[in-house]
Symmetry: C2
Subunit: 232 residues, 2 copies
DNA sequence: ACAAAAGTGTTAAACTTACACCCATGG
DNA sequence: CCATGGGTGTAAGTTTAACACTTTTGT
């Protein structure tokens, strides 16, 4: 099984924001290798399947959720990264709004959302967290986080974390959570509403907590932000 | 041969600047499929070889040149992209200073530098150019060009096109060639020398054509440009 | 002396930042 | 009527763009 054969898989870095935290979908491995460890969801590319299609299929199988965004991240193929043989994995980055996980997915074992802060920096302990990720998944997750952070600056990607209609404050919460910073609400509002086709007002308003009702917006048509929102 | 087997290759988008033009290294295919067409250099990943190592090896085999820069670009695996069977290719982007090609490489057929303008937009004719690229290489090339253009903005990557010592005017020529724009020489000079660790003066000067001798610089230690040089 | 390229100075416009201030709601 | 968050105005500081001007060479 370890001949000239190369297995190709797709792995998903699936991010969402729940409870004001950036969380990643992980699967508890039920079989060796790395039995009991957390791993990124993923699976084999079918013999006649496009890579993007394989990623979309895995996403749907594992979660049943509709992604706000899905893009190829990078490919990892260091020999020995999987002890079973030569496995090359094409990693994808997906961003989702906060949705309830629809029961245990059809396919794999226990899938859970875990705060990236509890799993990313070889963290000590969280309820349910158990040390490092399987394979080279810590590296893949780190690459995904960096890519997501960077893309918030110059693309309207943050809206992928939001439901179809959202307030500017909710969009700001996305930036603040992913970047782990505080942003000035007033200047943020002006930058976002001022950027070309970033968001469009729906006309409706919503009361989120206390205070004055906020305008609701939906994603605009822009694919690039002019001007960009830079990290402080 | 078209069973569940997946072949993994690396392909190279190898860019340089020659004769004030952005050029890409292409190989004229001597065998079907796409016999006679131009293609990106590349080859199979060895059974126990890392992907980055395979890219570096192909680069050295095909050109014998030392790259200024080499990074993974993206992975392409649409079924049918290679008529011979399922082939997934991990594309790499490499940037080189203008060096003479050291004879015909050890490995493949005729490798030539071609202006990207003559091959990129399904161009009509150039001496030696013969229509579209093989496989999905036009798409890969386009992705490589976009990546290179974008990275010039916020990384010191442009120095990868330059020899070890260079003048600010030569660095500006890189930006002007890749971006197909004109930049103000005076403001460019200030931005580049003002950006943190982008370039370091060597102390020496050089006379390039006519006019006042220019200071020589080498790459600095920065990996990110602060502030960035944005496209107009 | 003159043309050409390197490099510095200067100024107006644009953008960013910080924060004062008003608006609209629930309690 | 007060606390809370939504949203606008504005002035100070910073960055950019355009271009006048000086320096240093080859011819």
């Amino acid at each position: 099984m370890t001949l000239n054969t190369v297995a190709v898989t797709v792995d998903l870095v699936l991010l969402t924001i729940r409870s004001a935290e950036l969380q990643v979908l992980l699967i508890r491995r039920a079989i060796p290798p790395f039995r009991g460890a957390w791993a990124l969801p993923g699976g084999f590319v079918l013999p006649d399947e496009d890579l993007d299609a394989a990623a979309a299929r895995e996403l749907s199988e594992e979660t049943g959720l509709r992604p706000g965004y899905l893009e190829q991240l990078a490919t990892y193929g260091t020999p020995g990264r999987d002890p079973r043989g030569r496995v090359i994995t094409v990693a994808y980055l997906a961003l989702l709004p906060d949705q309830p996980l629809p029961v245990a997915g059809s396919d794999a074992a226990v899938a859970s959302w875990l705060p990236v802060s509890s799993v990313s920096p070889a963290s000590s302990e969280s309820p349910g967290s158990s040390g490092a990720l399987a394979f080279d998944h810590a590296r893949i997750l780190a690459d995904g986080l960096e890519r997501a952070s960077a893309k918030l600056e110059y693309t309207p990607l943050a809206t992928a974390f939001c439901p179809p209609e959202f307030t500017i404050a909710e969009l700001r919460a996305v930036y603040e959570t992913v970047w782990r910073t505080r942003l000035d609400p007033r200047n943020f509002h002006r930058k976002v509403t001022g950027a070309e086709s970033f968001v469009e007002p729906t006309g409706a308003t919503a009361i989120r907590d206390r205070g004055r009702p906020a305008q609701l917006y939906r994603r605009g048509t822009a694919t690039l932000l002019h001007p960009p929102l830079l990290r402080p």
